[in-house]
Amino acid sequence: MKMWIVIAAYNEEKRITKVVQDLKNHNYRNIVIVDDCSKDNTYQTALKTKVNVLRHVINLGQGAALKTGITYALNQNADIIVTFDGDGQHLASEIYKLIAPLTKGYEITTGSRFLDKRTKMPLARKIVLKGSVLILRMFYGLKVTDAHNGFRALSKNAAQKIEIKCDRMAHASEIISEIKKKKLKFKEVPVKIIYNEEVLNKGHGGIIQAFKVFFSMVIHKLR
């Protein structure tokens, strides 16, 4: 089984080396980083880690970067694709938990920070995340506990079937809707998310961000 790890990175020069090191320490060798036209030196820093690095010539957003990485991995004949965040909020030691169900017939697994109590997060963030889970349930009718977790494992079949059209942050909800639409066998796996100062300061998961995502979900639904 050939496994590829896809990392979408935007302005992660300070964190990307550590993330790759963590993966290498756990013996994951097939790694592709997609630099989404970062303003800092993410590309150069990533190249130094000796993994496969792709660069978007213009900034497209996380959804598009993930799709690029997934397309690349499929070209390399990947059987399993794991998406991993570039800012160090996921643990390489938990990858095996996400891929285990894939060998038992599941086609896609996503990490959830709400299935156990290990993840500590600010209350405001918790409210936003829980709210979006409710909205997703209304929109797509798929029961998930954590909709916006970038930690996922996809079988080759799932990776080929899932279409990511939302370039920006709404892709997380889009993947959930694709799981439902393409009837993929899906499971959530408890993972720990590390909230350090830098992750929190990046501004993802804020109220404004949440509204933007909600708006683009509505647009997508209408199309």
Binding site: V57, A64, K67, T68
Partner: protein
């Protein structure tokens, strides 16, 4: 003839000339060409004979002739806005695809050069 009629006619003729020019450059499809010709020629006709517009308005149950023009114009504007929105979305998708291909090809080339 009122000044507004003259202004409208002059503008419509100007717009008509643009449409013909663009179609000569083959930047309009036949469908678009016909639509725009109809729009501007009917504007010239209605500006020259406002009573015609009033008759149309009465038939459709709208009070004043000018109102039918405003309603029609707004509907047309929304339609074009919608078309534009779709076209921009399509261009967006094309740019994404293009960027993706460039990223993958470049990676392949850099790796080849480093060997």
């Amino acid at each position: 003839m009122q000044p507004i009629q003259i202004i409208t006619i002059i503008f419509a003729i100007f717009a008509l000339s643009r449409v013909i020019l663009r179609s000569k450059e083959k930047k309009l499809t036949i469908y678009q060409f016909i639509i725009w010709i109809i729009v501007w020629i009917s504007l010239i006709i209605f500006a020259s004979f406002p009573s015609l517009l009033t008759q149309f308005a009465h038939i459709s149950g709208i009070g004043r002739g000018i109102d039918i023009l405003v309603y029609g114009g707004i509907i047309l504007l929304f339609y074009f806005l919608f078309k534009l929105y779709i076209q921009i979305k399509e261009i967006d998708e094309k740019i994404t695809k293009l960027t993706r291909v460039i990223a993958i090809e470049n990676e392949y080339k850099t790796r080849k050069n480093n060997r």
